[in-house]
């Protein structure tokens, strides 16, 4: 085995240069575990390779395909839920962080074309020069834009951005062929999602494992407005604010609408641990209004009118909280990561899902109940929801969170127990879909999707007959 790996590394080094491929045990170990290690145990790749461009990616994939070696694509190293932890022995970890060029920002088209190593921070630094921004996930702004969009599950911080930010992309398949989606396949204009035939951009997204390696992607950019106003409204339960959320979404009045509990994400949204959060109502709806002159004032008037009759308490909070909320919602999540530091617990578990606003209170109720059943204390149970324009199906992203001490193996066991029960309960209750195809969540789901599962498997085998693209996560 060692000899085989050494030979492989030599071949990889011939492609990417000696310093960019290694089977050094320690280097490989640094890729062996992510934050989800209570669920996906540590596993080393056999080697790590760091290509600089798409031609090197192509050669690496063709080599791996020839020898039927599993490949784990990896972008900027902010990995969660075990998605880049190898399943099989002898895997190649394909570290794409060197491919970090912003290939184009097109302010007229309101698009950016990027490589996988480009982070949200890197991209905003450039797009803001044109008063544009990407759609941000509520993930650290060190994460890869391309991979977040490709995984499709955007739990965005700005409701107004809608759900899908990917326009088109270029993917290299295991056989070395390049596949271009949308208008990119027909012309040099990669600015339209739907080119010929089916929506291939959608079909290749959000698989457990991948279909190939996306080497560049064109994404939507959104306007940054000078006029902004923030409101914070307190509620004692999850059900009451849903009417206000509905009204704001139905009339398309607010850019960001986030319902959070007062002990977790609110700390990041406000950017401080040092505030008597327990004195606030249990749930706080954070609302950000923006727009051009005239439209902004009209929206703001309507928002304030709705707020008056919403049954909540409009909170008078320090001005810097509003500034931080703006930054975190429209400039990329940084302080939001303070959730990792809640009471020094250092780790988090969440089930992210899409569902209708009408089920918000039910999702929270089942979250709390299941947590208590498995022995998770009530003060570890947290929640948030972000509605998503254009609000067909009253689409919301929900997050059922538990922040906990990552060093406590007993808590890990409780969370595994929680997952086992909760996945089934949520599926029974009704959801639109899971946020990500993470460990343990897809299996009980596949049982329920009928013939679609068979088609899905066949589809993947057509693209990747040797099953090298991080297979094993599900199929």
């Amino acid at each position: 085995m060692d000899e085989m790996v050494s030979r492989l590394v030599k071949e990889l080094q011939a492609i990417v240069g000696e310093e960019n491929a290694t089977d050094d045990r320690a280097i490989c170990t640094s890729y062996s575990r992510d934050q989800h290690w209570h669920f996906v145990p540590a596993k080393n790749p056999a080697c790590v390779v760091r290509p600089a461009n798409k031609e090197e990616v192509r050669k690496v994939l063709m080599l791996a395909n020839t020898h039927k070696i599993p490949v784990i694509p990896y972008s900027t190293g902010i990995n969660v839920r075990g998605l880049t932890i190898p399943v099989h022995d002898g895997s190649i970890l394909l570290d794409l962080s060197r491919m970090n060029r912003i290939l184009e920002i097109n302010p007229e088209m309101k698009t950016a074309t990027i490589e996988p190593g480009v982070t949200f921070g890197m991209l905003l630094e450039q797009t803001r020069k044109y008063k544009l921004r990407p759609a941000f996930p509520d993930a650290p702004l060190t994460v890869s834009v391309l991979v977040n969009y490709y995984l499709r599950g955007i739990y965005q911080t700005a409701a107004t951005d809608g759900h899908d930010h990917t326009i088109s992309y270029e993917m290299i398949l295991p056989n070395g062929e390049t596949l271009k989606t949308g208008s990119r396949a027909l012309s040099r204009m990669p600015y339209f999602r739907y080119g010929v035939g089916p929506d291939f951009a959608g079909m290749f997204c959000a698989h457990p494992g991948t279909c190939g390696v996306v080497t560049e992607l064109t994404a939507k950019l959104y306007r940054l407005y000078d006029n902004r106003k923030e409101y914070f409204i307190g509620f004692d339960d999850v059900a009451t604010p849903t009417e206000l959320i509905y009204n704001l979404m139905n009339d398309e009045l607010a850019a960001s609408i986030r319902l959070v509990d007062n002990q977790s994400w609110l700390k990041g949204i406000f950017g401080t641990f040092d505030y008597p959060y327990e004195e606030l109502p249990k749930f706080v709806l954070c609302v950000l209004v923006e727009g051009v002159d005239g439209v902004f004032e009209a929206k703001d008037t309507l928002v304030r009118a709705y707020m008056k009759e919403c049954g909540g308490e409009v909170l008078d909070l320090p001005a810097e909280f509003a500034t931080t909320f703006e930054h975190e919602s429209l400039g990329g999540a940084e302080k939001s990561c303070m959730v990792f530091g809640i009471k020094g617990r250092g780790n988090y578990h969440c089930i992210g899902l899409y569902g209708p606003l009408t089920l918000a209170a039910k999702y929270y109720e089942v979250h709390e109940r299941t947590a208590l059943e498995v022995g998770i204390p009530k003060d570890h149970v947290h929640f948030y929801l972000d509605p998503i324009y254009s609000f067909h199906g009253q689409l919301c992203y929900f997050e059922l969170d538990v922040f906990y001490d990552g060093s406590d193996p007993g808590f890990g066991a409780k969370l595994r127990n929680y997952n086992e029960r909760q996945f089934h309960k949520l599926l029974d209750l009704g959801i639109y879909g899971w946020f990500r195809p993470y460990a343990g969540i897809i299996e009980p789901t596949v049982e329920r999707i009928g013939y679609l599962a068979e088609v899905w498997k066949k589809f993947l085998r057509v693209l990747d007959p040797n099953e090298i693209m991080n297979r094993g996560k599900l199929f």
Binding site: I27, T29, S30, G121, H327, G346
Partner: protein
């Protein structure tokens, strides 16, 4: 010396890292500029060179998954200046208590105890045994005005004695010009910093014992340091000797009788890691510098200053990386409109000056400028 962290304490801290990697960039908001903070990760690229990757390696060592040294292991562990920028960023976000620099020093201690250490660092032990200084230079440093009855003792340190003597000369010049009586130890041995930072803690014990004895014998009440590495070592790794420990800039700020003539010089101040992040001394050097030059502010400052690339045994083992880090800092100073980059550490001065040979910018220690501007 208290260098021992319990295994469980270390593993617990490692398990608290959620690998968000925000530790690798300076605070993004409100400036919204992408400014890397981790020289090691930025230079080498593999995950192993960033704090989250290094923590995984340490975990694997402690849990018996890594049982022998490799080139990658030694590079990942030792090609790190242990500058602590990652921890400063992390604790802002997560309020963690046990920081990466402590963990990384504990990791080096663990590795050194297994004999997994770079030859160049092992050789430092031999040099110190032979010459009592980290550079293996002939042990000799005489001053004209040392007064063995003085309350002030100037602890020069190896780098200012043997590699950057202009700093020691400047400090002594200042003492003379403002009429301060001082003494310098005839038998000043290396403080042990380089050994402790490279994990060779046991080898430092003899040095500590000797210096403590000599300082007690000196009767000094205050020790002045121009080297933050020495100062940190005395603060954190030496027993309490009942003596006041101050950095040169803290000492200078107290002097009321200095007649300084401000130069027409635009200077950026570079925070030395040991002085700033480790000891929290940010304002005093700036206050002193502002008396002799116009300060230009760089983008990465104070807790989030970019390391010069010299510390933690990097300069001796990975000089190309050290010089790259220094060049990045010099570019930042020039972008800020500075004609000179001024630090308060002989390690920083040495590395920055070497890198500055290719850049059009001057490099000073703050005491050099003060000495130059003192009208004695």
């Amino acid at each position: 010396m208290d260098m021992e962290l319990e295994r469980e304490e270390v593993l617990s801290a490692i398990h608290h890292c959620v690998k968000c990697k925000l530790c690798s960039i300076a605070s993004f908001h409100p400036r919204e500029e992408w400014l890397p903070l981790c020289p090691s990760g930025q230079f080498y690229g593999y995950q192993a060179f960033y704090a989250p990757g290094k923590m995984e390696i340490f975990r694997a060592i402690l849990e018996g998954e890594i049982t022998e040294p490799s080139e990658g292991l030694l590079n990942a562990v030792y090609a790190c200046t242990v500058c602590g920028a990652c921890y400063e960023k992390c604790k802002q976000i997560t309020s963690v208590e046990l920081g990466a620099p402590d963990l990384f020093e504990a990791m080096r201690h663990e590795l050194a105890s297994k004999g997994w250490i770079l030859d160049v660092h092992k050789n430092i032990v031999e040099k110190i045994k032979e010459t009592r200084n980290a550079y293996g230079e002939k042990y000799e440093y005489k001053t004209k005005s040392s007064d063995e009855n003085a309350d002030i003792l100037y602890y020069i340190g190896c780098t200012a004695r043997y590699r950057v003597p202009e700093i020691a000369d400047a400090m002594l010049g200042i003492f003379d010009k403002i009429g301060i009586k001082y003494q310098v130890m005839d038998e000043e041995w290396c403080c042990g910093s380089v050994l402790i930072r490279t994990g060779q803690v046991e080898a430092a014990k003899e040095l500590v014992a000797h210096n403590v004895e000599e300082i007690k014998r000196s009767g000094a009440k205050t020790i002045v340091f121009t080297c933050p590495g020495c100062l940190k070592t005395f603060e954190k790794n030496y027993p309490d000797m009942g003596v006041e420990l101050v950095h040169s800039t803290q000492f200078l700020l107290r002097q009321r009788n200095m007649n300084l003539k401000k130069e027409d010089l635009k200077a950026a101040y570079h925070d030395p890691c040991h002085l700033g992040r480790d000891l929290g001394i940010y304002e005093e050097p700036r206050a002193v510098l502002s008396e002799v030059a116009d300060i230009k502010v760089m983008k990465r400052e104070k807790e989030q200053a970019w390391c010069c690339g010299s510390g933690g045994g990097v300069k001796s083992a990975f000089d190309d990386f050290a010089l790259w880090s220094a060049t990045e800092r010099l570019k930042e100073a020039k972008e800020a409109g500075a004609e000179a980059l001024v630090s308060a550490c002989p390690f920083c001065k040495r590395n920055l000056k070497e890198a500055a040979e290719k850049e059009e910018i001057k490099v000073y220690d703050v005491v050099e400028l003060v000495n130059r501007c003192l009208e004695g």
